[in-house]
Structures are given as structure tokens and as C-alpha cells.
Amino acid sequence: MSARKKTQSQPKSRARARSLAPNIANDDIGEALRLKLYTSQLECRQIEQKAYDLFLQNLIKGTSHLGLGQEAIAAGFATAMQPKDYTFCTYRGHNHTLARGASMEGVLGELMGRQCGLLGGKGGSMHLTSVEHGAMGSYAIIGAHLPIAMGAAWSAQYRGTDQVSVCFFGDGTTNIGAFHEALNMSQVWKLPVVFVCENNLYMEYTPISQVTAVEHPAADRASAYGLERIVVDGNDADEVYRTAQTAFARARAGEGPSLIEAMTYRHSGHSRADPATYRPEGELEEWLKRDPIPSYRKRMLEFGIKEKDIVAVETNVTGRVNAAVETAKASPPPSNDVLMTEVWADGGSAWRN
């Protein structure tokens, strides 16, 4: 691992983002990809907003952990990935699952406990999975999926494919044992796994700074595992995208894992039950000014993408989201006979003869 300056990860992009006249000729991302990034973020945002509304209508029961405000991370990484790559995320995983290509009605249906749900109503909001899209699960036990993601990377390494395993988790996860075990072992075995810490400043209801020995809960631990310290603006989809590309290139080249800390903020509470009164006054408003989606829209215009094309994307997304809501609402609850199915690979649940 070569030494690099600690404070900057992508000096080039920072300079670009701040210039008043975007240099279109040097745009490494390009219009098509930008529209794709925007579409992805918008889909996540609107679906999460629908999830919020449906919860208020009592059509979604139990609890949901919304990723409102954190769309750029999911979109940025997903867009940089290949379909054959694996992702593992937490119970705040609606964005990540959608971003890999899972259907909207599959996501909403699962939240509503319907047959059309990705998991047939058996897993719920916290376990969204779409193996066909490489979304290998959303995990509710803090830290559990880090070593599991590492296992998928081991499998890719063993089979000699250049698949990458990407693992998303929150700032709170950096203090649990499995985080440290996974980072250590991934580095020792040089596994193609990218660990992405979405630092939204709060471990459930507590500011992360109050319970962590270092300032950046993930990035400041990287050196303990011989990894580079990487902190990015998680609300800038372009920055996320570029960071992801770099990490994936390393992984596919056999250079081992990366640990990326993406700074962001969640607009809603930890879960649906949380009104987030623990946030200091004004903090939410400050972060809303840095809402990834309006920022990105503005940037696209700066880069010369036409308003009408943007509007077309927005209209299209809204239409698909609304249709998905209707489809999910119309889907019936799971039939009783699925209760005892799929414990075992043979589809059954028998423990005796």
C-alpha cells in the first residue's frame, strides 16, 4: 500500500465541483452516466417517500429504516458496479436493493407484507434481498454481514472471477467486533471486498462522536488494518462514483480490500418510530441544504444537460413509482401455505420423520 496524502482522496473532483464554469470537455462521467446516477437517486428518494406515506396509512406495519438523504451513496456505488458484483447492506437497505435493479413493487410489496414482495412477505423491510441482481441481503444484526461480505469476496477470489463484494454499513457498526474481524481477515487474505461506512453522524439515537474513540469512526481505523484512510462526501454522487471505481479497480486487480467512509445525513429518524428529537436544532436544516438530489440536479444543468431531459427523467420515475405503489397495493397477502416453506433447500421445514 503506497503512502498517500491523508486529507484528500479526490483532489481533482473537488476542484471541479467548485469551479463556476464546468469544463465539459474534461468530464469523465458524461451525460448518460449522470442521468443514470440521477435516475437512481430519484428512484430511491421517491420510493422511500412512498414508504413513509404508506407507513402513515398503516399499510406498512412493523418498522422501516428509511435512507432518505443517503441516496447518493447507494446510486454512486451501484452505478460503478457490474451486475456480477455482490452487495451486502444493512436493514436501512431499500436504496441499496433498488439501486442494484430490484423492482419497485418488489420492494414496496415486501414492506407491505404482500405476495409480490421480494421475499414473499417472509423477510420484511430489514432483509430485502434480490440474489438475481447481486443484492445478497440486508442484514439486521449490526456487523454480521461484514464477514459474510468477506466470504463472498473469498468465493470470488477462490473461483478466480473478478467479482467484487461491496458491504454497506453505518457508523455505529465500526464499534462492533465483527467489523474488526472482517477488516483484519479481509486484509490478511487480500480479498476483493469494499467496505463502505455511511457515516450519518448518529448511531441509532446517539451521536457517533460520543461513543467512538476516534473522529472518523471508519477512516480513522483503516490504518489499524493497513488500509488507506478514505473520507468522501457521501452526498455527492459523482465523488462517490469515482471513489467506488478506484476501489473496485484495486479489488479486481487483487490488491485487496478498501474501507471508505462516506459522510452523509439521514433526513428521517433512525426508524419510523423515531422522531429524532435528539438532533441539535438547525442540524437537519443545514444538511437539507446539501440534499444530494437537488445538488445533483443543479450540477447536471451546470454540465449542460437539458432541463427537458431532466424533467423527462423525473416524470418517468414518478410514473413508475406510482405504478409500483398501485401494483403493490393490489397484491394479496401471502397465502397460508408459505408459512412452513423454505426453511430447507428442498423447500420444506420437516425436522423429523
Binding site: L118, K122, T129, V131, Y139, A144, M150, A153, M185, W344
Partner: protein
Amino acid sequence: MAELTYREAVAAGIAQEMKRDPNVVFLGEDVAAAGGVFKTTVGLLEQFGPDRVRDTPISEQAILGAAMGAAMTGLRPIAEIMFSDFFAVCWDLVANEMAKSRYMTNGQVTVPVVVRTANGGGVRFGAQHSQSVENWAMAVPGLKVVAPSTPADVIGLLAASVRDDDPVVFFEQKSLYATKGEIPDGEHVVPLGQANIARQGKDVTIVALAAMVPRALKAAEILASEHGIDATVIDPRTLVPLDTRTILEETIKTGRLVTVEENPRLCGWGAEVVSIVSEEAFWDLDGPIVRITTPHIPLPSADALEDLALPSVERIVETIRTSVD
């Protein structure tokens, strides 16, 4: 027919499967270069190489997580947890992740993983390295639970476990590692869910597991020759799936049931067997069902005390002699 020790049978069983299927990989602490702390995996690194037989840090959660992640993405990993007591350190991966993922994803995820572990006492390692915890695994929906008592069954059941597409927890009894047994030639597979009737009798049915099987057989000999009690001994071999049919049939034949369990008393695996029999064969019971178990205490380390705690041949004989008429 060859004769192998139980520990040699572990290596032989793993080797049999790794040879057959290139997707079978194996990881654990000190398993590769050192051949395992109990010398159960000697020779595997040499035979299959460092890509397939891997030493890990002391990171039980990472070991099991890696095994699960690999199992979900095309491999058939065998993971070792050195002492079954250590399951408490990584139980989340076993009970919440491996066991439940298929059900929660409605079948999208398959987890063909085998977690082997050295289980049980009798070797003076003290309470945190001696407990029999197969009942912990039996209580978790989504896990298959295997506990062989002979070298042949080690190979046969390990083969079946590796070939099974579901998560299997494979309990090797450390006190049996030195015992010897005949191994059939060629590939050996014993299907899960089939009990073995180790001895056929007519007066009482004994159901015993793992290290308790040889003790039950010894006790049966003494009961027959000295007390005129002819016992059937059943070795279930797997707790999940459980061969309830054999247990019920054999209990109905004798009308009496006794379990011999190394685990501590409460919620031991025998409690479930007793529950099933008392519900489904109540009208064929000629006397109360009796469980012979380790008392509900952590295991002491001093040899005299440990031997007092674990069900001994003498205790088995005496209990059956006084309760079966």
C-alpha cells in the same frame, strides 16, 4: 475394511469430500499448517493446498461469516469452531444468519455450509471447553444437527453434511477422538435422519448420543449379564432431522424409554425425545420415562469430579436397574 481413529476419520471424511468436489473448501484456526489442535485435519493442507485449506485469525465471527458468504456464492465451505463452547462467541452467525437467511428470503439464498466443532467433556479442560451444546443447535429452526459416535459415522455423516444444501452443525465428541472403528472401503455416505440401532433388546429402549453411545452399550452388556435386563440401544446420529419413527417403534416394543445425554439437564436433546414419545406413545408405556444426564452445572475440571458429573456406565446401569422392572 480399514480401522481408523475417530480423529483420523474427520480428516478422511473432509478429504473424501474435497477430493470429490472442488467447491469444498475448509477454514478454521490452526487447521491447516498445524493439522488442527486435536489433530483432526492432519494432511489436508498438503493434499489440497493453501487455497482450499486456510488458517484464520482468532475471529470466530469472521470464520463463520466467511463460510456463509462463500456458501451463498457457489462454494461448499467447511468451517471449524475449535471448541463448541465458543459458539457463544459467534452464535449470531449460526442462529440468526445461517439458520434464517433462506426462510427470510423465501428461498433466494442457499447456505450449504458445514460447521464442525469439538464438543463435550471428559478430557479435563474445564467448564468453558467441555460443555455439550448440541441442544443449543437443535433448538434453532433452520439448522441440521449431527453427532456421530463412531469413526465410520464421522466419515459417512460428514459426507452427507457436505452434500446437504442446508447449514449443518457437525458435533464431534472430543472424548471420542482416540476411539477406533472399522471404516468401510470406498466412498462412504450415511444419510442424515437415520438412527442406528446399536443393540437390539426387549426390556428397555435406551436412546444415547455421541460419547454416551459406547457407555450405553457397555451398560447394556452389564444389565444383560448381571441383572437380566435386555436393552435396546439407539444412536440417533442426527438430532435434526430426527428419526422419530425408529425411536417410537423401538420404544413401543419394549414399553420403557431411557435417554443418556451428556448435555446438562435442562432442555437437553433428550427432553424433546421424551416429549415426543410421551405424546405419541403414551398408551404403550409400561413405566415412567427416565433421562440420565449430566447434572445442571458447569463441568468441573478435576478428573474425579468430572467423572462423577458425566453419565458413567455405573450410573446408567444403576438407574436402569432400579427403574425398570
